[in-house]
């Protein structure tokens, strides 16, 4: 808004320039470098890095685990957001503040903490082990770590949307004869669905990129509990920059496709709603 009212920050030209520079320096250029590096790799080396059985297994774990963790967060994030948004109880504020903890902790610390609790002789792990459930050093542990670090995204996106669904809407539906389940399905979920999808996307993206907390609890057994980012680190430690870049490119491309799909889905949903009305 060049000709708009004066604002606190200097004019449009300067801020847009800064925005472009910042995005370029911090996001676009490194990504371009990654793509270039991957592209300059000899083909057989590229295929070796990208399509090796070990790499394929790591994709399965990284993408599958992130997807599963995001799904878990979608459900439980909704429940947590619902509790915080709808009820007034002692300790609510404290609980609300706790949601953000996984944001603040260095991820390695959460990894160590999770391992301490869930390893075979940990606080919970020893009882779970009795039941035959092993969390640490299994794929289950990977999903657990991914769920933990993605949870705040799911809660924090749904919470404001739920606050916006006024109590009156539920009351109105009730006086019109709708039961609780009907109100939930037909009134509440449609109203917060866009926010839930956003939360899902963010939680998924975060889980996919997570490294620190996962490597502690996963045990990093090749072909079993090895995530793609770790595989890249291994390549780097062997000074195989091209291999690492190739894997990075695969991840970049795959997450781009997934995020694009979700965004298109969202847009399509909005569009369909509007077109049906027109």
């Amino acid at each position: 808004m060049r000709d708009g009212q004066p604002t606190v920050l200097p004019g449009f030209g300067l801020t847009l320039g800064f925005t472009t520079f910042f995005l370029s320096a911090v996001v676009l250029l490194p990504l371009a470098a990654l793509v270039l590096l991957a592209a300059s790799t000899p083909l057989h080396q590229l295929l070796n890095a990208v399509a090796s059985p070990r790499a394929l297994a790591s994709y399965e774990l990284s993408f599958g685990g992130a997807l599963l963790a995001a799904c878990i967060n979608l459900v439980f994030g909704f429940i947590i957001a619902w509790t915080l948004a709808r009820y007034e109880f002692p300790g609510r504020r404290l609980m609300d503040a706790m949601i953000d903890m996984p944001f603040a902790l260095p991820t390695a610390v959460s990894g160590i903490a999770l391992t301490a609790v869930f390893s075979a002789n940990g606080w919970l792990g020893r009882y779970l082990a009795l039941a035959g459930i092993h969390v640490a050093y299994t794929r289950l542990g990977v999903v657990l770590a991914m769920t933990l670090i993605g949870m705040p995204f799911a809660v924090r996106t749904v919470q404001p949307a739920l606050l916006e669904v006024q109590r009156d809407l539920e009351d109105a539906a009730e006086t019109l004869g709708a039961g609780r389940w009907y109100v939930f399905r037909r009134v509440i979920v449609p109203a917060v669905l866009p926010a839930m999808l956003t939360g899902f996307t963010l939680a998924f993206a975060r889980a996919l990129g997570e490294y620190g907390s996962v490597i502690f609890i996963s045990g990093n057994l090749p072909m079993k509990t090895e995530i793609t980012p770790l595989l890249m680190v291994i390549h780097l430690e062997e000074f195989d920059y091209h291999g690492a870049a190739a894997l990075g490119f695969v991840m970049l491309a795959a997450s781009f496709v997934i995020l694009l799909t979700i965004n298109l889905l969202q847009a399509w949903g909005r569009d369909r709603m509007v077109r049906r009305r027109a």
């Binding site: 006024q166 009156d168 809407l169 009351d171 109105a172 539906a173 009730e174 006086t175 019109l176 004869g177 709708a178 039961g179 009907y182 037909r186 009134v187 449609p190 109203a191 709603m273 509007v274 049906r276 009305r277 027109a278």
Partner: protein, 596 residues
């Protein structure tokens, strides 16, 4: 009866937000619940809809007890202030919501929807989303949606609150037309008296969770029973007057009357008269006051042109015989409010600073026995301290009345009465100290009929206990109780005490007395009270009951020519709770007072 409410009570954190409300609404009636925000009217509406539970009471719709029926099975339609439309659904889907829930066939749904859209004048809007409609149109959709399942009762919660004046007007008319066409019993909640007048068959005014008065708009406007209704329904001047045999008389207290002592039948009482601003006439001199009674002289403070009407505020001269306004109009200065039509303005032009003669065309005397407060103590500093008592300030500001100050050096003097002419207007207020009984007796000797005794630390009471020692004080005590309780959010309990060794037949008559008291409170004063029967010595039982919980107050009725003595004096000696003593001469028959 379409809607019958029986003693509904809903408490929030111990405070009653709906306080013993009983009401009957007839078939096809348009009933408006009017009250300031926080008066409990919306809570009451939600309770009728089944959306909030009750602590006490019963609700019946068309003779069917629905107290424990869930909102979804009550068959009511509810319209909200913020429309509460489902924003992701079209107008058609919104309206058909209730029909879809009931699994009605698509074809039937469509025809019902068309019918409703025609009713609210929104034909052809079926496929719009709520976001694409104006506020007024959205509220029309909400009305249609609420009517879709053919509810027995339509409830509207401030439906025009979010709309601007022009749109309001049109929507009001639509709702009234729809209501008439369907003949559906309707309750509308609002805080806007103009809206209430425009729409209601009958209005119920609420304050502090109580339903104060019900009636046709014009009756409530011209003959309000309470000062809250008088001042809430349009502007009103409350003027302290003396009630004499031939109507209210203006002028300051005490009346210049010789020999008006206690027991004199012709003694004048202080009353509160309601004078609407449009009933005030202004002229140059007393001779020019055509059709009105002379009130006094004053100076015009302010003249406002508001279109059809002119609003003037007048400061009355402080002459000895000048009338006294009961309430301060907000900012402390007590000014008389007047409105004049165009023809009056042409006949006599007002300018600020001008001196005018003021007349009253019509005045309505309120039935309330509590007119004003007079703080009494034997020295000036004690009077000042008592006049600043939080409970007294609270009560007087809620009652929109004055606190006078009176230093009485002889207060509490036990020597028999000599100077009968000293009479204090209104309710006397004294502090609870060790000699409080002799103070009270002195006041009773001097013709005071209501005495408020205040302990130093008395919070605003949450519960008021009512008791009278003698049946001949019943009527007056109930009238005073009703007047006090209208201004407090407290529950009222009538406590009757029977001697310990009571025969069964006497017990049943005691229970009958409780029921009588309750029905008199309801029919004569519109006050809902709870009742309790206790056994033992009256004063001890009352003291025990008052000590059970903090935040209680006692209204105690006594009668007879005698002074306070014996167990009653013991109860009142340095009370730890506020006590309002209501005293009536035994020879005064109750019915003469009911005319006041």
């Amino acid at each position: 009866m379409s809607i019958t409410l029986d003693q509904l009570t809903k408490r929030y954190q111990g405070v009653p937000v709906v306080n013993d409300v009983s009401l009957e609404i007839g078939d096809g009636e348009f009933f408006v619940l009017l009250g300031p925000s926080g008066s409990g009217k919306s809570t009451l509406l939600r309770a009728i809809a089944g959306l909030s539970g009750l602590d006490h009471g019963r609700i019946a719709l068309h003779g069917r007890d629905v107290t424990h029926v869930s909102a979804r099975r009550r068959g009511v339609g509810l319209v909200f202030q913020n429309y509460a439309l489902f924003r992701h659904m079209t107008v058609a889907e919104n309206i058909e919501f209730a029909l879809r829930v009931r699994r009605m066939r698509a074809a039937q749904r469509r025809s019902r929807r068309q019918e409703l859209l025609r009713l609210v004048a929104l034909e052809g809007m079926d496929e719009r989303l709520p976001g694409q409609l104006s506020g007024g149109q959205q509220q029309r959709v909400a009305v249609a949606r609420a009517l879709a399942h053919k509810p027995e009762v339509l409830l509207l919660d401030e439906p025009f609150g979010a709309l601007d004046a022009k749109i309001r007007e049109g929507l009001r008319r639509t709702i009234r037309e729809v209501q008439r066409e369907l003949g559906i019993t309707t309750i509308l909640v609002t805080h806007d008296q103009e809206e209430a007048f425009a729409m209601a068959d009958r209005i119920g005014v609420m304050n502090f969770g109580r339903l104060l008065e019900c009636g046709r708009p014009q009756d409530l406007y011209t003959h309000p029973a309470t000062r809250f209704v008088a001042t809430f329904l349009g502007a009103a001047n409350l003027i302290l007057a003396r009630q004499s045999a031939d109507g209210p008389r203006w002028g300051a207290w005490p009346p210049a009357m010789a020999g008006a002592g206690p027991g004199a039948a012709a003694r004048e009482r202080e009353v509160v008269a309601v004078v609407r601003p449009e009933e005030i006439q202004m002229a140059r001199s007393r001779d020019e006051l055509s059709s009105s009674a002379y009130l006094g002289r004053g100076v015009v403070e302010e003249v406002l042109f508001t279109g059809a009407l002119e609003r003037a505020r007048i400061r009355l001269d402080e002459a000895p015989e000048a009338p006294i306004l009961a309430h301060a109009n907000g900012e402390g200065a007590v000014l008389l409010e007047a409105t004049r039509a165009q023809f009056e303005q042409r006949a006599f032009t007002l300018t600020p600073g001008q001196s005018v003669t003021v007349g009253v065309r019509r005045a309505h005397v309120l039935a309330t026995p509590l007119s004003s407060f007079t703080v009494c103590a034997s020295n000036g500093s004690a009077v000042a301290r008592l006049a600043g008592h939080p409970l007294l300030l609270d009560l007087s500001s809620r009652m929109k009345t004055r606190i006078r100050r009176h230093v009485e050096p002889l207060l509490g003097d036990a020597t028999p009465i000599r100077d009968a002419a000293t009479s204090l207007p209104g309710t006397s207020v004294i502090a609870a100290h060790e000699n409080v009984v002799s103070d009270a007796n002195w006041l009773l000797d001097h013709g005071v009929e209501e005495i408020l005794i205040l302990p130093e630390h008395a919070p605003s009471p949450q519960r008021v206990l009512i008791h009278w020692t003698d049946e001949s004080a019943r009527h007056a005590t109930l009238a005073v109780s009703a007047s006090v309780l209208r201004h407090l959010s407290a529950e009222a309990i009538y406590v009757d005490v029977l001697p310990d060794q009571t025969h069964a037949t006497v017990r049943s008559s005691g229970i009958r007395a409780l029921l009588d008291a309750r029905s008199e409170a309801r029919t004569a004063h519109g006050l809902e009270i709870r009742t309790e029967l206790r056994f033992g010595v009256a004063a001890q039982a009352l003291a025990q009951r008052l000590d059970e919980a903090p935040g209680q107050m006692l209204i105690l009725g006594t009668s007879g020519a005698g002074r306070l003595s014996g167990e009653l004096a013991a109860l009142l000696a340095q009370p730890r709770w506020p006590v309002l003593l209501v005293h009536r001469e035994r020879e005064a028959p109750a019915h003469s007072r009911s005319a006041a």
